[in-house]
Symmetry: C2
Subunit: 338 residues, 2 copies
DNA sequence: CTGTTAGCGCTTTCAT
DNA sequence: ATGAAAGCGCTAACAG
């Protein structure tokens, strides 16, 4: 018996059960899988022995021999703290199951995106998700397993993507806001990158804003932590730096909700004094007062496009092929805050 | 060639690559797995051939031979629309990964809880999650795989649980509310069961309320859909039926947030006219005005208790053992709504 | 450096 | 109704 607390018994195999029950391994298989062609008494005896030994068939051995019926999809969820991502995960789970896929979910939230990918890379047939890594590095890590990126561009073979044309959406949003009287527009960006290193990497959304907003952008962009509270703090900061701003575009809905909350504290009337617009289209936007106007991303379309690509790859046995690209368009969801 | 659209090629195996590259299978393994002891030129040739053939090592065969290093946990998530459950999923993913578990997530949301369990039952070593099925039926379905129930009692061998003593929490809540002046308390229950059948099954929380609340309960309990909007409608209904109520206990935070929203529309001052109290302790409760007072459940404790049980089961090779039970206590989180 | 020999634990033939 | 043989596709251990 080992000195430490590890169990003394090894996991029972089908052979152990067969021996203990005095039958062949096939008989054990028959009993375990309700297969018929087996005497009821024998079956019961086998079942008893198997229970006594705590026998559980190895899922690996079974999968190996039962012709690749289970196709597995590795879903990388950016965050479990933002409903936007969990709703996508939920939709993906439902839709993937309907198409006969088993989904293994991993989160890149802990920061160990690489570890998660590497771990799963010999457990799944394909990856799907919001992955921040550069394509080349990604390919390296997953070791040739195809990847379908969500909301990210793709160029290299083996990496495919469903893009969302946020730039077009923001252009549309800004135009409509101007038509409604917006004069000076500011932005709150996510300081997501700051969680993993000390250098802030401006988001593409900020890039589009700088390109499209026009006007004096000095001090009009503030970076905040990607949370409700972070959005609130950023809004406060922005209003102090640029009291002349009458419209604020926020990186995402969660942060925008925080901004709306902060507006109460600051005594700023929304949308009369300042308009607030989020990005994502969360149902949660209905929870705040006033309800949140937002540039809504169609999650269902995102998911079904991604799974279309996955099925296409599956048909090709996941051989490495040139990038498959799909693009979807966000659209404004006007509620009360703008 | 087959008449339908199925691919004509079968998935390439290591032997195909070996033959095409003119080497042994072992050399292919070495190339694919970066193992050293291989000529750089040979390696490159193998890699090229493998890419050309679209070869992907079978994860089943590999797992079979690489000694059961991966232990898999099947997490059943009740809903991806309620942050309470997704936060637990996130915590579980992080904590399980830290303990060397791989997590496969399935949702019981679609209503096909049974299908999900059955599908995963030969893919995982243990189940954890919010599962509504009766224990006996559950055991039947999972075919002997141990289960750790979250927030549910357990009695049968093979089924274990981490309970949350909601009754004690509600008792405490009601006492404190009375001390703060609550006279007439009403409740909003979840009509969750209505989604799957036409019969409403009162939740245990309702049972505790009826037992503990006291006073005239006629019309003081309303059933609503388990969503923000549902909570809002239920609150409206409750206020119409029983305008004398000064305190409302809500089934969960999501519904309670809806109730707070509805109070604005109804012109009811919270907490001055009516106090609103949720259950769960979501960060989201900070998003509404006034912020939501709630009976908070410690998710971290729930998760770590569950994983303790899982590790214990693992040490016993998942043999069927008597129920292991843990109990945690919720506690009041006083914010502004009560 | 490369190839050969053994399995991993299970389910499928196919006999008996 | 049961058992014997034959792999599934891969990697570990040992040869050469």
């Amino acid at each position: 018996m080992p000195p430490d607390g590890t169990p003394t018994t090894k996991r029972a195999t089908i052979l152990d059960v067969a021996a203990a029950a005095g039958v062949s391994r096939q008989t054990v298989t028959r009993a375990m899988n309700d297969m018929g062609d087996i005497n009821a008494v024998t079956k019961q005896r086998v079942l008893d022995v198997s229970a006594r030994l705590g026998y559980r068939p190895s899922r690996f051995a079974r999968s190996l021999v039962v012709r690749h019926k289970t196709r597995a999809l590795g879903l990388i969820v950016a965050s479990f703290r933002n409903p936007y991502f969990t709703e996508i995960a939920g939709d993906m789970l439902t839709a993937a199951a309907a198409r006969g896929w088993q989904v293994v979910i991993a989160s890149s939230e802990s920061g160990d995106e690489i570890g998660a990918l590497r771990l799963l890379s010999n457990q799944v047939d394909v990856f799907v998700g919001h992955i921040a890594l550069p394509e080349a590095e990604l390919i390296e890590i997953v070791g040739g397993i195809p990847v379908v990126l969500l909301e990210s561009p793709c160029t290299l073979p083996g990496v495919h993507c469903v893009e969302v044309d946020i730039r077009a959406g923001m252009q549309d949003a800004i135009e409509q806001l101007r038509r409604k009287g917006a004069r000076t527009i500011g932005m709150i960006d996510s300081g997501y990158s700051l969680r993993f290193s000390s250098t802030y990497v401006p988001s593409p959304r900020r890039g589009y804003f700088e390109e499209l907003a026009g006007g004096d952008l000095d001090g009009a962009i503030v970076v905040g932590e990607e949370s409700m509270a972070g959005g609130g703090r950023a809004f406060t900061e922005l209003m102090q730096a640029r009291p002349d701003i009458d419209t604020v575009l926020v990186f995402n809905d969660v942060m925008a909700i925080g901004a709306v909350q902060a507006s109460h504290v600051l005594g700023i009337a929304v949308p009369q004094q300042v308009r607030i617009v989020g990005i994502d289209g969360l149902a949660l936007g209905e929870a705040v007062t006033p309800t949140l106007t937002t540039l809504s991303i169609d999650r269902q379309a995102l998911v079904s496009n991604a799974l279309d690509i996955v099925d296409e790859l599956d048909a090709a046995h996941f051989a490495k092929t040139a990038s498959i690209r799909r693009v979807t368009l966000p659209r404004m969801l006007w509620r009360e805050s703008a």
